[in-house]
Each structure stands twice: as structure tokens, then as C-alpha cells.
């Protein structure tokens, strides 16, 4: 395996800077919650379904509590009190709570104690169920095995789950290792998770528990047929990160797109909202052994890869730190980056190799997620196919783990069935044809590749120093990432963030934090 000569002290220093960036925020995670965290808690307890207007009951409950000014002590407490008071099963209790509000007196210490006891016991049961799901999945994965790295990650995005399912199956049969169902344009800004099987979406299909289940089942079946475990992924970004993490855990997903900054930068979601949400959501992912995929690749779709490569690395250090804070092992950190150098750049390939190898070496245990050319490709599908060939080559050369395959119609439409087929053909060809290339070559110690890697690392350190000094929130306001400015009180979803009351209860937090959570 070829290696770049890296300055390990500098890498360690970058990590310490990331810790300085992240630490000050951890307190706020303990002091705050959000509507989506509360809805996630309800879902963990088993609250599900929608009302006659298709509003999910978790939303109904949380909205009611909020309206009544009773959210700050946590939905768990309210649900527990209602269950205890009414004697109803959880779902009925939740409906009752949504319709009538919290009728119990939470100041009664005995009742409060009993509610807490119920909440803790039921939380333990809920997590035991999730653990069983995780365990069953792990066994299937071990039994069937997964494909060799780079693992080939293909997207389906028809908008209709019944069209997605056969397409996912087809892709698996053609060699895909991971299927991602892209979400409908705009779902990330919905402050609820739609319900049921859906057949209408644009640019993707709604992420719902039922849709997860349908795809999961189909991939499990085809996995048995193929003797290869097929992984499924979706998006825990946007306004419902924690809830999607719950649904994913319940339905047995293997990965989730989940980034500490993506929603802030690219969806203009309020920074406090996203940071708070991602923390709880990652605790859940860690518990369920779900690999997160971070979104640094997106920076390069707006900013220039040559100039802003270091922002990707800096952000990876930050995402890594946030993930650690949520209890994630490195084996679950699918840190993201991308092959987005302008194809007209002389020696662009060298710089791409440098970046891919750098990321690989800096995060040796992480299942790095790597993204194909998107920004600079055009409707010339032939030329795009050539870009994807070099992308695949760098992928196998530098040992990327999770490789989203380039699609020759990237600049045109969400992939056709044949586009995925051709993408797999390209990747299989290159991965086979260049299988051991990485063992064959060494980098010139002071060459362009080594220098570029060193430069990106230096610049990332420089940026992290600045962010550590100024703080993350002010830095994001100064457009350090992707050239986007986001103010602390701007963006969507700030109204859904609240300070916890002293008596706030969320028994999952403590349980998740204590749990032994290896994937």
C-alpha cells in the first residue's frame, strides 16, 4: 500500500483543534432539545401513524405540548404521565395527549417519580428491541458477506417507492453493494416525516418508515439470492435528523447521510437546530451500528476543489469530533469528500490522488465516503463516462471505502436503470483491471502529489486554528465553508429549539451514552 509522507504531529494538532472547535458546543447539547428530538423520543416509545390530515402523531403531540408551554420538560415525561394517568397503551395515550394536552400534574413528586420510572423502563425496552434489530442485521451481514472495497454505492430516485424497489433490486443484481434512496426535493425542509408508502416525489422518493421497510425487505431477499449482503442508506439530514435515525434503526438501515453542517450550509437550517439534532441523532446511529455519511463533498459543488480542498479536510475533522462526542467509533464515520477538480486543470488527477490519499491516511479506520464528478460534468455523456473512469481508478488506487458511482447522465436527470448498469460496468472494469496498482507504485517524496497533500493539510490546520479561535458559530457566519454565510439566529427551524427545564426528561440520552455501542 502506497503512502504519502505525512506529518503525524500536524494531524494530531488538527484533531486537537477540532476538539477546541466542538467542545464549547457540547454543553449546549445538554442544555437544549428540539421538537424533532422530542418526536424522535415519542417514536422510540412506539408512537407512530398520522391523523386524518396526514399529520404524524409525534408532531401532533409535540405541537400540542409546545402550544401548552409544556415541552420544556420533555415529551417522554408527558407521555409517561399520560400513559400512567390514562392506562392507555402508548399509541392511544399519545393520541389522547395530542388531543387533550397534558392532564397530569408533573409537580406531584410521587407521580413524577413513577412517570420517570415508566419512561426509563420503557426506554430500556425500546433500546433492547433496536439492539435486537441491529444484532439480527449484523448476523445476516456476516453470514452473507459484503462486496470488496471500494463498495459500490448506487442511487435510486424515481419518486415512487414501487418503482424504486425493483430498480434497487436490479442494481444489486448488477453488482451494487449499497443502495441509496434519494429523497424528494425539499423533504429536508419539512418539519415532519411523511407517513406510509409514497409514490410521488421529485428528484427522489420520500423517506418514510414504510418506504424504508419495503426497500429493506426487497434488498434482503435479493441479498439472499445473490449470497451478498446489500446495504441500504437514506438521509438523516434536514429538520428531522433524529426521527429519521429512529426510523432507520427500526427498519434496519445500514447507513445514513448525516452531517453536522450540511443542513446549515445547504438547506439554510438554523445552526443551533442542526447541531443539537445531529448530536442526538448520532447517538442513535452509534447505538444501531449505522454508518454515517458526512457531506463535505457538497462544498466542492459550489466552491472550487483546488482552492477549497482544505475546507473539506477541516470539516472532516470537525465531523469526526462531533461523532466522537456522540459516542461513535471510527468504524461508523463515513467521512465525505469528492472528485470535483475541474477537468481542465493540468495535473488535476494528481491533485485528486493527493486528496483521496490524504483523507485515506488521516482517517485510516473510517469507512470514507467518496463522491464522483458532478459539478463539471455536462450533458456529453461520453465525456462524463471518461471522468468516471478516472474517478474509479483513483478510488481503487487510494482505497476509498464507500464509493458513490458516477453516473454518465449526472448533468441531466436522476439515473435511468441503464445509467446505473453502465456505472457498475465502468467501476467493475477499473477495480479489476487496476486491482493491485496501489501496491505497485510509490509517490515521489517531494513530488506534486506529496506537496499538494501537505498543502491541503497545512491549510486545513490554518482554517481550524481560525475556527477554534473564533468559535464555530461565528465562523459559519463568516462563510468559511462552501462560501456560504449563515447567521446564528437565521435559517429554518430555530423555533423548534428550546432550553430544557430543570426537570427535563429524556431517558434515552443516558442509556445511549452508557451503552456499549460498537458496530
Amino acid at each position: 500500500m502506497m503512502k504519502l509522507p505525512l506529518d503525524n504531529a500536524k494531524v494530531a494538532y488538527a484533531r486537537s483543534l477540532a476538539e477546541r472547535v466542538v467542545s464549547p458546543l457540547l454543553e449546549s447539547f445538554a442544555a437544549r432539545s428540539t421538537v424533532s428530538i422530542e418526536r424522535a423520543v415519542l417514536r422510540l416509545y412506539g408512537v407512530d401513524g398520522v391523523d386524518h390530515e396526514d399529520i404524524p402523531w409525534p408532531n401532533r403531540v409535540v405541537d400540542r405540548l409546545k402550544q401548552d408551554g409544556r415541552l420544556t420538560t420533555g415529551a417522554a415525561r408527558a407521555l409517561a404521565a399520560t400513559v400512567r394517568a390514562s392506562g392507555l397503551p402508548v399509541q392511544e395515550a399519545a393520541v389522547h395527549l395530542a388531543q387533550h394536552g397534558l392532564e397530569s400534574d408533573l409537580n406531584d413528586p410521587t407521580e413524577a417519580g413513577a412517570a420517570r420510572e415508566w419512561a426509563e423502563l420503557e426506554a430500556r425496552k425500546a433500546l433492547t428491541r433496536l439492539a435486537a434489530t441491529r444484532q439480527a442485521r449484523r448476523e445476516t451481514r456476516l453470514r452473507l458477506g459484503t462486496g470488496p472495497t471500494p463498495q459500490k454505492y448506487l442511487i435510486v430516485a424515481t419518486g415512487n417507492i414501487h418503482e424504486d424497489v425493483p430498480q434497487g433490486v436490479m442494481a444489486a443484481r448488477q453488482g451494487a453493494d449499497i443502495i441509496a434512496v434519494i429523497r424528494s426535493t425539499g423533504q429536508s425542509l419539512l418539519d415532519f416525516v411523511p407517513h406510509g408508502e409514497t409514490t410521488y416525489g421529485t428528484g427522489g422518493t420520500y423517506a418514510t418508515g414504510a418506504n424504508f421497510r419495503l426497500m429493506r425487505q426487497a434488498l434482503d431477499e435479493v441479498g439472499e439470492e445473490l449470497g451478498r449482503y446489500i446495504q441500504l442508506t437514506n438521509y438523516a439530514s434536514g429538520l428531522c435528523m433524529p426521527e429519521i435515525s429512529v426510523l432507520a434503526a427500526q427498519e434496519g438501515l445500514d447507513m445514513l447521510l448525516n452531517d453536522a453542517l450540511y443542513g446549515i450550509l445547504f438547506r439554510d437550517i438554523n445552526i443551533h437546530r442542526t447541531l443539537t439534532d445531529q448530536h442526538f441523532s448520532r447517538m442513535l446511529n452509534a447505538f444501531s451500528g449505522i454508518i454515517i455519511n458526512t457531506g463535505e463533498d457538497n462544498y466542492l459543488t459550489t466552491a472550487d476543489a483546488l482552492e477549497e480542498g482544505h475546507t473539506v479536510l477541516a470539516s472532516q475533522f470537525i465531523n469526526e469530533r462531533f461523532a466522537k462526542a456522540a459516542g461513535m467509533p471510527e468504524s461508523l464515520m463515513g467521512l465525505g469528500h469528492a472528485f470535483e477538480m475541474n477537468p481542465n486543470t493540468e495535473d488535476g488527477l494528481l491533485y485528486e490522488i493527493a486528496m483521496a490519499q490524504l483523507v485515506r491516511q488521516v482517517f485510516p479506520e473510517a469507512p470514507i465516503k467518496w463522491m464522483p464528478p458532478t459539478k463539471h460534468v455536462t450533458g456529453n455523456i461520453f465525456w462524463t463516462y471518461a471522468h468516471n473512469t478516472l474517478y474509479n481508478l483513483v478510488g481503487v488506487l487510494t482505497g476509498q471505502s464507500i464509493e458513490l458511482l458516477g453516473i454518465l447522465t449526472e448533468a441531466i436527470h436522476t439515473p435511468f436503470a441503464s445509467d446505473r448498469y453502465l456505472a457498475l460496468q465502468n467501476a467493475d472494469y477499473v477495480n479489476r483491471y487496476a486491482r493491485h496498482l496501489s501496491e505497485e507504485i510509490q509517490y515521489a517524496p517531494d513530488g506534486r502529489i506529496a506537496r499538494r497533500a501537505a498543502q491541503v493539510l497545512d491549510e486545513a490546520v490554518g482554517l481550524l486554528e481560525k475556527v477554534a479561535d473564533e468559535g464555530l458559530v461565528p465562523s459559519v457566519a463568516k462563510a468559511v465553508f462552501a462560501g456560504v454565510t449563515r447567521l446564528p439566529d437565521g435559517g429554518k427551524g430555530l423555533a423548534g429549539v428550546f432550553d430544557r427545564a430543570d426537570t427535563y426528561l429524556n431517558p434515552f440520552e443516558a442509556l445511549l451514552a452508557r451503552q456499549e455501542v460498537r458496530a
Binding site: 448488477q174 425539499g186 425542509l189 439554510d268
Partner: protein, 258 residues
């Protein structure tokens, strides 16, 4: 200078390796197993679409019930290219300084444009390319124009919000950018935008302009916009158009330049 052998412009056809051979490459999938029947069906489909000598150069099984085809065939239809009239936004190309000068001389005030990605579309790179100071490919954006006030509302702006802001700014033009076209999302969003403008009674008070990678003048005007700008557009295109179209509407001709 040596050129290609003269094409018959009144009966234009594709060129493969011989003038007028009509040669065209096609690829598609059929939801049936690869095999002689699939091949025959594929060939007949290509024939049914008027290609002579359909030649299947590849059939591959994409799965048990899906097959992939590459074909070559010869288009038989021709187009009268010589007499083709293509509707497009009519304006004289100007550079930033000429546009600023024109606005200053003819309007004596800054023109106001309000831009956004309407609906659920979050692809801001295109509208930013047109509006942001920095511009795109070395072409400055509208914010850089002395005589243009450019308000960029960014991504995922509901049509109502966009129109409301345009009214508030007393805008001369709305600039919408649409990128996502799957399931005709752009059509839905743009139709809604025009309807809101009409409902607010401002459709005639300001120009409605739209751009995006799949946008054409044709489609834009069909949807009720004044003009549409596709890939490769720059700020000076839309600025030159806006200034000259407003002049035209005021009954003024474009002044002859030195």
C-alpha cells in the same frame, strides 16, 4: 479555407461519415429478457421511429428481465434549416459598461431585479452565477453593475415570497432559476409563479425571466414568461435583454452606439 462538403441546408440530415447518411446512435433499455425476441422488438421500435437500416450493435442483459441496447440507424426525415426561424430573446449583445451606460442614459435610475430559486429548488449556483458580484467564468454578476440593484433571495423561495419581495422592491424584473426538472417540477413551480404574479396584478408591471440548464426561450414563453435563458448564459445577457426590452416597452428604440 477548407470546409466540409456543402450540406443541403433545405434538407438537413445528420452526418455520420458521409454527407446526408443520416447516421444516428441510439441507446435504450427494454423490460424483457435479452434474446432474439428482444433484439427483434428493439429493431422494430427503431424502424417504427423512421430510422433506415437499424443496426443493433450491442444487446446486453441488465438483469433477468431487462436488456440494454445500442443501435445505429439512419434518420430519414430532413429539416429545412435554411428557412428555420428560431424565436429567441431579441437584444443586442452589450458588455457591463455599455449596459450601465445605457441604463444611466435611458432610465436615469438603477434598474431593480429580484432573483431566486423558487419552490423547493435549492440549486443556487446558476442564479448566483448571474447575480453575485463574482459572476461566473470571468463574467461579473449583476451585483457588480453600477446601474442595477440586484436582490438575490437564494434557494427554496415560495413563489408568493418572491413576488412579494419584487413588489416591495418595485422591481423591474423577476429572475427565477429552476434546475430540478424531474417529474416536470420546474413546470409546476413556474406556472405557480406566473399565477401568483397575475393574482397580485403585477404580471404586466415587471418582466418575468427564467433560466436554468434545461431552459429554452420556447419553453419560457410557453409558460408565460418574457424570456428564458439556458446553459452558458451570463449576467450581461439578461441585463442587456432587460434594459432593451423595457426600453422597447416604453416605445423607445435602442440608441445607436458609437
Amino acid at each position: 479555407m477548407i470546409g466540409i462538403r456543402k450540406a443541403d441546408l433545405e434538407r438537413l440530415k445528420p452526418y455520420g461519415d458521409t454527407m446526408d447518411d443520416g447516421k444516428t446512435q441510439l441507446s435504450f433499455s427494454l423490460p424483457v429478457p435479452a434474446g432474439p425476441e428482444a433484439a427483434e422488438a428493439a429493431k422494430r421500435l427503431v424502424l417504427a421511429h423512421g430510422f433506415a437500416d437499424p443496426m443493433m450493435v450491442r444487446m446486453e442483459a441488465m438483469g433477468p428481465t431487462m436488456s440494454f441496447f445500442v443501435f445505429y440507424g439512419a434518420m430519414q426525415q430532413t429539416i429545412d434549416y435554411k428557412n428555420l426561424v428560431v424565436p429567441k430573446a431579441e437584444f443586442e449583445a452589450l458588455d457591463m459598461h455599455q449596459i450601465d451606460d445605457l441604463i444611466e442614459a435611458q432610465f436615469g435610475r438603477r434598474l431593480v431585479v429580484v432573483g431566486a430559486c423558487p419552490g423547493t429548488d435549492a440549486h443556487t449556483v446558476g442564479i448566483d452565477a448571474i447575480m453575485n458580484m463574482k459572476g461566473y467564468n470571468g463574467h461579473y454578476g449583476l451585483e457588480r453593475y453600477k446601474m442595477v440593484k440586484a436582490v438575490n433571495m437564494g434557494a427554496q423561495i415560495p413563489p408568493e415570497a418572491l413576488v412579494a419581495r419584487a413588489i416591495a422592491e418595485n422591481a423591474d424584473a423577476i429572475l427565477a432559476s429552476v434546475v430540478v426538472t424531474q417529474k416536470d417540477l420546474h413546470i409546476t413551480t413556474l406556472t405557480e409563479l406566473v399565477e401568483v404574479m397575475e393574482a397580485e396584478g403585477v404580471r404586466d408591471r415587471m418582466l418575468a425571466i427564467v433560466g436554468g440548464p434545461r431552459m429554452t426561450y420556447d419553453l419560457a414563453t410557453e409558460l408565460g414568461f418574457d424570456a428564458g435563458f439556458g446553459p452558458g448564459s451570463y449576467a450581461e445577457d439578461v441585463a442587456a435583454y432587460v434594459a432593451q426590452e423595457l426600453l422597447r416597452r416604453q416605445g423607445k428604440a435602442m440608441p445607436v452606439r458609437a
